[in-house]
Symmetry: C2
């Protein structure tokens, strides 16, 4: 019906809140409940909510706002400090899952499919799917726990940013090998172009914005509206002109605004916009993607192994990277676990691969299962590894 | 392109804010600037923003939130006090434009068109288009001026609510005469059903909600999220099950929540959600509908006369109603002018009429012009008639 979207949003808001409070009561992060709400409302269970274009677009703005908000709360000095570490974490955290995914696929891919690409490329592609980290769930969980600005939190943010870039590059290399129309050089040039653009336009904006907001000590609506509009515009430009993820653009937009004197005020209003409408729709929409596939025994085994490998390779890869860079064992574990969630990124990559004949369609089921479970266990595991024995610092946990 | 909606929202937010601040600077309400932003961005001018399904749905949620917010700020006692007056204002405010529209149409409608309905019904239909009041622009303007809870403000809110119901009834009667498939009795029964439903379900919700929010003095996110979800659900039910406008449902939802002790807190967060994203999209979307039609001399004359009659009949009809009920001349003028704006309601009615053969397509141009101009002049005229010589009360004007 024409007015269905009102019902969809209403039921998403209610169920994510109710289930979020339920998971909170049993000492799990609220985001776990919100993710489960989507599973329950979607085609895998009740089938009450459809993922229409409206819900998809709104949820995309939701994840953009989440990353914008993370950018606003980021301490740039701290991020710079762990820049080198983030890079090493991201690189090892991409290589280990890539090899792991390749190995699992090599075990199960008999090559008896209708794909025209080589078996080697197909196996590499499963590896690439495993490299894609989706940091939004981790960000939300760390905010909820009041741990986003810890050393580990900053390392995760930085590494996720670099992971995104490495992921695009890896995906481009493989798809260009499968499809001669994709030019690696063009893609690399565009990524480089984005950072040049961000440096020039972003810094110019930053100067003008700080000057504008510093003219008065008043808290004016216009600062919030303009910041949000800038975030959307930056996200759009990243995605549409440079092929870089919109959330990377949004995160950078947040960092650019974070040093304004009005940062606290802007941040709190963006937070309201997020929890009142956008982020619940985003969390629910992840579950709305899930349809339970019919799978034979061999595919079930593949799914199980893929999941285990997905979890372990990120923990080991990123954890190792952190350890090498001098993080404590506990922090390294925190970083590794923070990178486990695959979220929507892996699904987008899988879709692109299937479109160019790199993946057979019956691998979709296992990948969906891997995405859903890594996404749901990440906040649970994070809560465990970020638990403190002594309450030496006061965590500013989120109200609900 | 796939990510266009990000650009659309960004450019809408920026331009509505910039033009809103510009109109504020020349002492006009900001909403005038926001409306003009839509005209400039849309097909009538630059053609930068398309009214996609996403933008339409988001703008519908925008007007819902606007009316919800008006409901939250309504003083029920005051609304009840002016209930009888509102009814009289609405009734006379429907009859006078109906006759005016009929007369204008009778002057210009030669009957030389391909419609199968009688000329009399066609002329009545133009009258019905003129009855439709769109109160959202008035609400926003009065909030901006800090005048929503004046005696005139309450009378306008009540009258608009009743006007909506009368409008549905009138539209139904005429379409049922044109199209035998529409049953008047069913429509009336459904409207009645909605008020029974609102009384039973609404009051039950009200009791549970007040009990729930009174359990603690803490300000918790959940109250805001649940209120907003309830508003959307109530709006959806009104429209989808009872054929009553979604904004009527939203306004009632606001009234039901307004007596909660958390009302101020909820209201402020709904306000943030509104100004950060939803209401700018709504204001801009009105202008996005406008395409400048090619019109001959006779149609231009019709457009001009229709506009004048649209403005005068509402001011006279509603003003007369208010005057009869003992409002001062100044207040009566305020009420009359508050009902002038036709907004999107008239366009929806016109679309429905054209679909059942009650209106010839070349009348769309004049109606669009009438809608746009009544919508833009309403806040300007309101600002004039609500201006005070002595500042006896302190208006709580909105920040921007």
């Amino acid at each position: 019906m024409h007015y269905d979207y009102l019902f969809f949003v209403a039921i998403i808001l209610m169920s994510t809140k109710v289930l979020g409070l339920a998971t909170k009561r049993i000492n799990l992060p609220q985001v776990v409940g919100a993710l489960m709400a989507g599973l329950i409302l979607g085609p895998a269970c009740l089938g009450l909510v459809e993922k229409t274009e409206f819900i998809s677009s709104l949820s995309e703005i939701g994840v953009i706002v989440l990353m914008f908000s993370a950018g606003l709360e980021t301490d740039i000095g701290e991020l710079k400090k762990c820049g080198k570490a983030s890079f090493i974490i991201a690189v090892i955290g991409v290589i280990v899952p890539l090899l792991g995914g390749f190995a699992v696929s090599a075990l199960f891919n008999t090559g008896e499919n209708t794909l025209t690409t080589s078996k080697f490329l197909q196996n590499i592609f499963i590896g690439i799917i495993l490299t894609a980290t989706s940091v939004s769930i981790t960000v939300e969980t760390l905010k909820e726990l009041g741990k986003l600005s810890t050393r580990a939190g900053n390392a995760i943010l930085g590494a996720a940013l670099i992971d995104d870039i490495l992921g695009i590059v890896a995906l481009t290399v493989v798809t260009s090998l499968a499809n001669p129309e994709v030019e690696i050089a063009t893609v690399l040039l565009k990524i480089l172009g984005f950072f040049v653009f961000a440096a020039l336009f972003g810094v110019l904006f930053h100067i003008l914005f700080v000057r504008w907001t510093d003219r008065t000590t008043e808290k004016l609506h216009r600062y919030n509206v303009m910041s949000f509009a800038f975030c959307l515009l930056f996200a759009y430009i990243a995605e549409a002109f440079f092929g870089v993820a919109d959330i990377t653009g949004a995160f950078l937009a947040g960092i650019l605004i974070s040093t304004s004197t009005k940062n606290k005020y802007i941040s709190s209003r963006i937070e309201t916009l997020s929890y009142m409408l956008l982020s619940p729709v985003f969390f629910a929409s992840i579950g709305l993607n899930v349809t339970l596939p019919k799978m034979g025994a061999s595919i079930v085994a593949f799914a199980g192994l893929l999941l285990v490998v997905a979890v372990l390779t990120k923990i080991i890869g990123c954890g190792l990277g952190a350890k090498i860079c001098g993080y404590s064992t506990k922090e390294s574990l925190q970083v590794g676990i923070g990178m486990v969630s695959r979220g929507e990124v892996a699904l987008i990559v899988a879709n692109k691969g299937a479109a160019v004949g790199l993946m057979s369609a019956n691998f979709f089921g296992p990948i969906v299962i891997m995405v859903v479970i890594t996404t749901i266990i990440t906040p649970i595991l994070l809560k465990i590894v970020f638990a403190e024995k002594e309450s030496s610092e006061l965590p500013v946990a989120k109200e609900a």
